[in-house]
Symmetry: C2
Subunit: 559 residues, 2 copies
């Protein structure tokens, strides 16, 4: 009951503010945005004039066109793993090309992602917390789920504004047709349906190296005791890489009966890099601006490549793949410069979530800086390096300590792309406009908060330098919640300091929690979107068709 | 028995190599040095020619004089706490002046110290592991111990070679006359006898803030129950700051009966900074080169200064003091530049050991990067930032991943100072000549190992990227020892990976251990040096004399 009356107060106090929004006034953000807008709106209005001036000068220099955008999202790299040469001694490898990119642009030092691949990518694509879209996590097996048609992606937003859009690499937005890249705004698309758990772990080499188990070659379990063949996914039937050709999607590089291997995984990685370079050359010749979305599968690689070309003093399999990707990023930057499009092309490189701490000994990755890794709401799960280059527009060698959430790129790219009108007005857009930080520098941000979910559960809330770990259900929120000062205790290891913040924090964070929940009540989360997997692909292999049939059958018995 | 025959083999194999040493051939190093010299000696010989060429060119440019050396050693700052702007977001404060120094010189990225203040300073002063000198740790109270006459310090070495030597700030080498700075090679000396535990914790303000206990104002314990007045040190009688005037040592700033306060501690810090600037002006006018040894007491400060000038977003008391010291370092650099002595002056700034993790909530310091802090053999206890500037001689903005131990500065400064002949030949000098790294750059180092002691106990051994935690006594060394890959697991948190290194590591590190112990047998550790405390100080207060008498009495009953 108390919640209801609070909601009423909230509705009264917040709704009028929505109309007072500055640049794109009718976009609906999360409640917290309006709390800070009420206090900082005038400053933001002043900033907006400078931003508009800078942008319009750019547009006129650029034939009235918005900039090209190359967005490179790297898998499973927590903060400190790339682009910070001072930390080479912590991790035993260098990323010279990303270091150079960092030096030629801005480092977003407090970039928050979601704690895992699918949700971070959902947040980037839609500008929304994944839970709002109904897609939190795409599992390793067939799921018959994915990003729904109804979501509006940054590719759709930019395409509507005249961009040519191209996606290459990891996608991981589900296995149903409407979730595929070409159905979500990309004119060109080349991607694997699933993720590296299938591509880099579920193969014979990984099992031979005892990195994975259960794929069929470890032990000879008698058929009479092993009654359920559907329990362990039959990876041989799962789709691998697909490509869009003349508007139709085809699986490539797998013949019926063929077995996916580590070698094929390596080839896939190299193929995507080659495609990106080819795309870049083509896109640069076009009149329209382009949005090139490149999501490499590396550095995730569990088997060390044996060619020895990419050795590191760390030696881990991820680190070797990482410096190979670093080389590739160098190639892309060189190509952008060579094509003469440096000045009108934004290049952004970042990680998608923390490292996989489960594989420390093998991968060479580790939660070196912040504690926790992939899957965790701890800083180690959601803090990543992020670097943006835009010569002449973003200060070279600059850093910003403003809080970012990956969803902010949706809104900021939309603004750069003169596409703010294409951002949907009928739903909550969590991403806020951070063009101020990028164009005016540190301390021009419009976010001092992040809500951190682990899949369906809201696990913590960050507000400027403080972090609130939500207490377990059915416990006293004041006594069981933990509070952290992220500068004094960045590894969130000393909850005994909580009482110093909890005295005021339980009220302050409690208010944030209530406002967030009230907004969710007003704009309910979408339910997951289900459909038959693999529809719309032209050349399904017999073993794939069989797998889909088994999946459908399993659904009938209520799995 | 086995050890003895091993020793014989060792003596046969190592002793001849000693004679083959390159630059200062008759200096005796630890055994491990000869193992690597045998494999790298030729390369080092070639390096030596280039180094000599560079140095002789410098000397002729500089009127045949060696360079001035300003060595600034900061208290309790683990790796990542200073000079790395990318980590501002981890700790919530910036050190702009040290950052600038780092950019204008070389960052020694793998600098090892000892885990605590006294031992690190002993190692720097003598070029030797503290345990060899008999001085491992100077406790908070009167001890009647200290650095012995027989030890030869870098100040003595450089003075013999013609330097004017000056010490300002923390000293912490004991409370007996022979251990004082002016008896250990410094022409000028201004320092507190003890450390910040006395100066910054044992005062009424610290007790009022509940930071320290037992100093006399917390509770009114009946005299009849509290029988021993000597149990809790009577800090009112302990000597504070002393200064050398006309060859004699005087306590300054304390009248009989006066109480030491936090305010006096702050004044002492400011006074030392003023003295350094005054010294610098004077030393720069002299014909001789100078060695200015400045060891600030800050950032250690447990009570926040209330003037509000040095606020940080972290807010911890250490961090506020740190940015004040950073300002001071800026003043020193500016003064060096203003005096026109930049080209012939080496400026080095580094931490002396890890942060005091015991005071995280208050100090704002934390073991953010490596695990562990002051007192620990873990990387967090012994890894620090170290920056060296020498315009025209050391590459600006360079970094080196070579392993350094703080004792290497003894030998390297001696070489820069044309003072190699003054380095003693009758004892083990642990510090190796690292001028190659400084003048030729990364990968020209002469050390790939460190032996890490916690006071009397050897706790771990580092060899290139591997670290061996010695097993507890009386356990099976192969099964109980822990091995770490410092790049894959820099926080030494996952001993379950040990088996992968232990298969070969127990033999390889076991050999290092045996060689080190054999060398200690040949060159035994000095026993601690005892004498009456506070001798040689002209103006002891009555309460100080009383305290010395009580100390002497306690020694008679065998304390």
């Amino acid at each position: 009951m108390k919640t209801r009356s609070l909601l009423a107060v909230f509705a009264l106090s917040v709704i009028p503010l929505i109309a007072a929004g500055v640049h794109a006034k009718d976009i609906t953000h999360d409640a917290e945005y309006y709390v800070i807008e009420a206090q900082n709106g005038e400053r933001w209005n002043a900033d907006d004039k400078v931003i508009e001036q800078k942008l319009s000068e750019f547009y006129s220099r650029n034939g009235n066109k918005p900039p090209n955008i190359i967005y490179i999202l790297l898998d499973d790299l927590g903060f400190g793993e790339i682009g910070m040469p001072g930390l080479d001694v912590i991790r035993g490898y260098s990323t010279p090309n990303i270091n150079k990119l960092a030096q030629s642009g801005m480092s977003l030092q407090r970039m928050y992602t979601e704690p895992s691949c699918t949700p971070t990518r959902v947040a980037f694509l839609t500008g929304r917390h994944p839970i709002r879209t109904g897609l939190n996590e795409a599992k390793v097996t067939l799921v018959g789920e994915g990003l729904p048609d109804e979501e509006v992606t940054i590719a759709e937003v930019l395409r509507e504004a005249g961009y040519t859009t191209s996606h290459v690499g990891k996608w991981h937005q589900g296995d149903i047709e409407q979730s595929f890249a070409h159905k979500q705004g990309f004119d060109r698309a080349e991607f694997p349906i699933h993720q590296q758990a299938q591509l880099a772990l579920m193969n014979p080499q990984a099992e031979q190296s005892d990195i994975t188990r259960g794929m069929g070659i470890d032990g000879d379990f008698p058929r009479e005791l092993f009654l359920d063949d559907t329990f362990i996914p039959n990876s041989s039937g799962m789709l691998t890489g697909v490509e869009l050709r003349d508007g139709k999607l085809y699986e490539v590089d797998m013949k019926p009966g063929e077995v996916w291997t580590q070698e094929k995984y390596q080839q896939m990685n190299k193929r995507y890099q080659a495609s990106v370079l080819r795309e870049l050359g083509d896109l640069a010749t076009r009149k329209e601006p382009f949005f090139l979305n490149y999501w490499p599968l590396y550095p995730v690689s569990f088997v060390r490549n044996d060619n020895g070309k990419f050795r590191t003093r760390n030696g881990g399999s991820f680190t070797e793949a990482m410096i190979e990707v670093d080389d590739w990023i160098g190639e892309i930057i060189d190509e952008v410069d060579r094509l003469g499009i440096a000045e009108n092309t934004i290049i952004m490189v970042m990680g998608d979530n923390g490292t996989m701490t489960q594989y420390v000994g093998l991968s060479g990755a580790s939660d070196r800086i912040y504690r926790g890794g992939k899957g965790d709401h701890l800083e180690g799960g959601v803090r990543v390096n992020a670097f943006v280059r835009w010569p002449g527009m973003i200060d070279a060698g600059s850093m910003a300590e403003d809080i970012f959430h990956v969803s902010d790129l949706f809104t900021s790219f939309a603004r750069f792309g003169k596409a703010m009108d294409e951002v949907p007005r009928d739903r909550v857009i969590d991403g806020v406009d951070q063009t101020g930080v990028l164009l005016l520098g540190e301390a021009h941000g419009r976010r001092d908060y992040v809500y951190i979910y682990e899949q369906d559960s809201l696990k913590s809330i960050v507000k400027n330098k403080f972090k609130f770990h939500l207490p377990p259900p059915m416990t006293n929120p004041i006594l069981s919640a933990e509070f952290y000062d992220l500068y004094r205790d960045p590894r969130e290891e000393r909850p005994e300091q909580s009482i110093k913040m909890g005295t005021w924090g339980s009220g302050a964070f409690g208010g944030m929690l209530k406002r967030h929940m009230a907004m969710k009540k007003k704009y309910p989360d979408r339910k997951p979107t289900y459909a038959t997997p693999y529809e719309g692909i032209e050349n399904l292999r017999p073993e794939t068709l069989e797998m889909v049939e088994a999946f459908k059958a399993s659904k009938k018995v209520g799995r």
